[in-house]
């Protein structure tokens, strides 16, 4: 099997010829710039660039050599953009790590050591306080309440840093020929690699509610103000469907997987009851996954952090085939249990190694044991793509990352 066939076999619940592996195909299955920098030095590859393709989370895009070294089976179509030297510039992070930022990203270091980001209207949309390693949202457009209508939605969304500082390919979404570029570059990428192709499409519902109203307010809204919530969600779905229409037209026959995002879980359980999910979000998720299935050959992938066990039956019915990052230490998310109860219906993209306590603080031997246990629980019969539980963060030692890949190699 080649890489793409391996990934597709897994998604189709067929036993692949080895565990498929992801590093960097999505903004929550990759490696932070600082960890990337230390890793490349440990590998003796100091000359490899550390390009921060997701500036909000400060995540690096692994280069082709790193993907080859670790035998990665899937890539983000976004990597086909920003491919010229002039698309990047050198800068040192606050801790001194030398990286490259996209040319359009110009944060403002402050006298107190914080880094702020101001948009073209001089509105502060993000901050990275001294000591932190990613940018927090500062602007919540509907903080004070819901507008009478949502005609301003396209203009306020960029005030939210996730949209305003979007990672590739979406940092080019304003280009006049973006959709032609997207197709052309995806085709070129397809021709250049046998890896599976991922397109990150967002289309978040609960999260956009939280981005616009702020999480604590939106949590109250879904309980006390479903009328306004449903109006907002309908406006979001309308907007997302416009995006999906263009995505499917541009790359629906080229990309293998479309990644939706919607964090629905906290550590101890979902943010909302299954009843609330069914009432407010499920039908709208289904509208969007149906669209993708009817207008493309892409598989549907949902990124949702946290304990989402109680929502999984509904997420399956909502049309999601793949779940990520599979936060194994969250309540009810034990790998064996998930595989036994949902393994026939869901592909688990993640859950490969615990990142909260083991990958960062464990010994290489403990990392390997955790990797083996998770692969043995999740991989049999397909339905599994190895990925760390979310991004590899700055404090992960290179020795642990190398140990992780050594353990994975025992299964391929």
């Amino acid at each position: 099997m080649n890489a793409r066939e391996r990934v597709l076999a897994a998604i189709r619940h067929q036993e692949p010829d080895g565990v498929p592996v992801d590093l960097g195909s999505t903004p929550s299955s990759g490696i932070s710039a600082i960890a990337h920098y230390h890793l490349k030095h440990a590998l003796g590859k100091a000359h490899w660039p550390t390009q921060v393709y997701d500036v909000v989370q400060q995540i690096a895009q692994p280069n082709d050599e790193m993907l080859d070294l670790f035998r990665i089976d899937v890539v983000d179509i976004g990597r086909a953009f920003d491919d010229r030297p002039e698309d990047w510039y050198a800068i040192n992070l606050p801790d001194g790590t030398p990286v490259h930022f996209p040319t359009w990203f110009k944060p403002s270091p402050q006298p107190n050591g914080d880094w702020e980001v101001f948009n073209q209207d001089n509105v502060r949309i993000a901050t990275m306080p001294l000591g932190a390693t990613f940018f927090d949202q500062t602007c919540f457009p509907y903080l004070d309440g819901y507008p009478a209508d949502f005609s301003d939605l396209p203009t306020v969304m960029p005030l939210v840093h996730w949209a305003g500082l979007a990672h590739s390919p979406w940092d080019h979404a304003g280009d006049a020929d973006f959709w032609q570029q997207l197709r052309a570059r995806a085709l070129a990428l397809r021709a250049s690699t046998d890896r599976a192709l991922m397109i990150v499409i967002g289309c978040n519902l609960f999260e956009w509610g939280a981005f616009l109203r702020r999480l604590d307010n939106f949590l109250v809204d879904i309980v006390t103000d479903p009328g306004n919530v449903e109006r907002l969600l309908d406006a979001l779905v309308e907007q997302h469907l416009k995006t999906l229409e263009k995505v499917c037209a541009a790359v629906g026959d080229i990309a293998d997987i479309a990644r939706f995002g919607d964090d629905l879980g906290a550590d101890q359980g979902p943010f909302m009851s299954p009843k609330t999910y069914r009432q407010l979000f499920k039908p709208r998720h289904k509208i969007m996954t149906d669209y993708v299935k009817q207008h493309s050959s892409m598989h549907t992938f949902l990124h949702s952090c946290g304990s989402i066990y109680k929502l999984l039956p509904d997420l399956i019915e909502a049309g999601f085939e793949i779940i990520n990052p599979v936060q194994t230490i969250a309540r009810d998310m034990e790998p064996a249990r998930l595989k036994q109860e949902f393994g026939k219906h869901l592909t688990f993209w993640g859950g490969g190694v615990d990142t909260r306590f083991i990958l960062n603080r464990g010994t290489p031997a403990q990392v390997k044991d955790n990797v083996r246990a998770n692969i043995e629980a999740l991989a049999p019969g397909g339905g599994f793509v190895f990925n760390t539980v979310h991004n590899i963060l700055p404090d992960v030692p290179p020795a642990n990352i190398i140990a992780m890949f050594e353990a994975i190699d025992e299964y391929r």
């Binding site: 604590d216 309980v223 006390t224 550590d267 909260r356 306590f357 404090d395």
Partner: protein, 214 residues
């Protein structure tokens, strides 16, 4: 009559009926119920039930937040009366998210739940320098200092905060409890904190145990 008035307050909080809570509290005050009775039997009792329902998996984070906001709405009416009365707080807590960490929603929920359990809470907000914790301890003389961090990379600031309290000679005067995503019992032990709780509901249980055991 008294029971009905208290039931209205209890129900407003349990049901997360934010608009109804202030009126229910006012009605009870107008009828002559003491601030202490309203707090204990109307509000603390309701938040305790909210905690039980959350632990049982019947209430979710959304419901817990909504009830906490209803509590806050009711407390906004009750607070002046609490200050005038001889109501003894369950204890005093200084809480904040540590330096470098802007995340505060979980911490805010803990603060609201602690208030709902009868604690006097001084919330320092997010991104709190260790010296601000020291100053707050000097000013408020709390029983408990509660530290929150969301990130593995900001968690070490918990240690520096504890070190700052030690350097100021204050460490033995307070109990330190910690929480947040990257924290666990092992880490709490490692930094010699006095306790750890994985969520807001269990934070209340922990805080109550700390002030009881002294």
């Amino acid at each position: 009559m008294e029971e009905e008035l208290l039931d209205s307050i209890f129900a407003a909080i349990l049901d997360g009926d934010i608009p109804a809570a202030p009126g229910a509290v006012q009605a009870a005050l107008d009828a002559g119920l003491s601030a202490e009775t309203i707090l204990n039997e109307g509000m603390i009792a309701a938040m305790s039930r909210v905690g039980e329902l959350y632990e049982a998996g019947d209430y979710y984070v959304a419901e817990m937040f909504t009830s906490a906001k209803a509590l806050q709405a009711g407390l906004s009416i009750l607070r002046p009366h609490l200050q005038n009365s001889k109501v003894q707080a369950a204890g005093t807590v200084v809480i904040g998210t540590v330096k470098g960490d802007m995340h505060d929603i979980g911490k805010n929920l803990v603060a609201m739940m602690l208030e709902g359990a009868g604690f006097q809470v001084h919330d320092l907000g997010p991104d709190v320098h260790p010296s601000r914790f020291v100053n707050a301890v000097l000013e408020h003389k709390p029983d408990i200092v509660a530290l929150s961090a969301l990130l593995t990379t900001t968690m070490p600031a918990m240690q520096t905060t504890i070190d700052a309290l030690s350097a100021a000679g204050l460490r033995d005067q307070v109990k330190i409890i910690v929480g947040g995503a990257p924290v666990n019992d092992e880490y709490a032990e490692h930094i010699h904190a006095d306790g750890y709780a994985p969520d807001a509901s269990q934070a209340v249980t922990l805080a109550k145990a700390m002030v009881t055991n002294g």
